[in-house]
């Protein structure tokens, strides 16, 4: 059965959306990949969608969304596989390794982030936005952009661990729960980013 759903388009109107049934989604992906990229959703429509997903997480499992924690579980698992004694003597890795009764990868956030990959792929495919490319401004070379992407990721990994979470776990989730740390964190993220933007402007504008 094909349920045709209406998706809000960028100009605020509605356009006929893709068939959402599982059976026809593969055909829809192939079909949409042939068409040109569709515009992103209006920010408020996408924001309400994200908010409802977050609300669902609160209601169903009693916790919010996250991202960086999944990568911490991955790092702890690899470090433990290579150097078990070293990992077990470290309180940071220990937090993710647990008591050793089960794999640290059998973790809520690890599965949630696998879903993020799948959901992002699905949305990109349905909108014709799957493309092997590098996102950058017009004034920077591709190797330069990739170097800054790695450096930015590295800095973010450190910051997210120090803050006990990233934009998802502390910003979005902590923000919606009115967490003191979440709000302090979020203001500081914007402060840090705006303070840095001038120095990396050649990468973006």
């Amino acid at each position: 059965m094909n349920a045709v759903v209406a998706l809000p388009s960028r100009n605020g109107g509605f356009e006929e959306g893709p068939e959402m049934s599982i059976l026809s989604s593969a055909a829809a992906i192939a079909d949409h990949a042939l068409h040109k990229e569709r515009p992103y959703w209006h920010p408020y429509a996408a924001g309400i969608g994200l908010g409802l997903v977050l609300l669902l997480a609160f209601v169903i499992v009693g916790r919010g969304l996250g991202a960086s924690g999944a990568f911490s579980s991955l790092v702890a698992t690899v470090v433990h596989a290579v150097a078990p004694a070293h990992a077990e003597s470290n309180a940071f890795y220990g937090e993710y390794l647990g008591d050793g009764s089960k794999s640290p990868l059998l973790d809520w956030l690890v599965f949630e982030v696998m879903g993020v990959f799948a959901g992002g792929f699905l949305s990109g495919a349905l909108a014709g936005r799957l493309r092997i490319t590098v996102e950058k401004g017009p004034r920077i070379s591709t190797p330069g952009r990739l170097m800054l992407a790695f450096l930015g990721g590295f800095i973010m990994g450190v910051g997210a661990k120090l803050a006990r979470g990233c934009t998802s776990g502390q910003g979005l989730t902590g923000g919606a729960l009115l967490s003191v740390g979440g709000w302090a964190f979020m203001l500081c993220v914007f402060a840090g980013a705006y303070a840095t933007a001038y120095f990396v402007r050649r990468q973006w504008i």
Binding site: G47, V61, W108, G119, I132, F150, G159, K161
Partner: protein
């Protein structure tokens, strides 16, 4: 009162992982729909000509915040069973500043880089490698910074508790702030439109 379902034992650990995957799909889907798989769209936030990041983030916060509040007032959700990460003020302030620097330099945050990588962006994949390296670095230096990591503990505390006012008042102020922010953001987009590349 019957929610959060997991905390009331409606399903066990294994089903919770299935739920995690499904909720993650929704999360990734809407991140991509917003344009957050694209570093140019995210970084535009910091040059003020496209404030989508702010608008999406605060719309999501307000939606979930109001929804959760009313579901708890109606007695459907026990708010005290929703996990609230404890506050460690100073490390979170410094961590936030560092993370903000990484955001402007790299163009993504962890969740958005996953979406970016999933839709074929090489810079998103490299950013993910950077995150993993950064977390490994943090793990290796952790014994040296552990005392700072646990400084200024405040427990699981909310803004209403900190200021000694009602939950509803803070909620109202956050909504007002968001609406004011949306107006300012749209104004900024016009004012700085000339910064858009191409």
């Amino acid at each position: 009162m019957s929610a959060p379902f997991y905390k009331y034992g409606l399903f066990g650990d294994e089903i919770s992982l299935v739920m995690a995957f499904l909720i993650g799909i929704g999360f990734g889907f809407f991140l991509e729909r917003a344009g957050f798989g694209n570093a140019r769209k995210l970084a535009a936030q910091f040059y003020l000509y496209d404030m989508t990041v702010f608008k999406v983030m605060f719309t999501a916060i307000v939606t979930a915040m109001i929804g959760l509040y009313y579901l708890s007032v109606l007695g459907f959700v026990d708010l005290s069973l929703v996990y609230l990460s404890p506050t460690f003020l100073l490390p979170q302030v410094i961590g936030g500043l560092i993370l903000g620097v990484g955001f402007a330099v790299g163009g993504y945050c962890p969740g958005t880089s996953a979406v970016s990588a999933a839709t074929g962006r090489l810079d998103g994949m490299v950013f993910l490698l950077g995150i993993v390296a950064g977390i490994f670095f943090f793990g290796e230096v952790f014994p040296a910074i552990e005392s700072f990591y646990t400084t200024t503990p405040m427990g699981s505390v909310t803004l209403p508790q900190l200021f000694g006012v009602s939950y509803g008042l803070i909620l109202f102020l956050v909504v007002l702030m968001a609406l004011g922010g949306f107006l300012l953001a749209s104004w900024a987009e016009k004012k700085f439109a000339h910064l858009r590349p191409e």
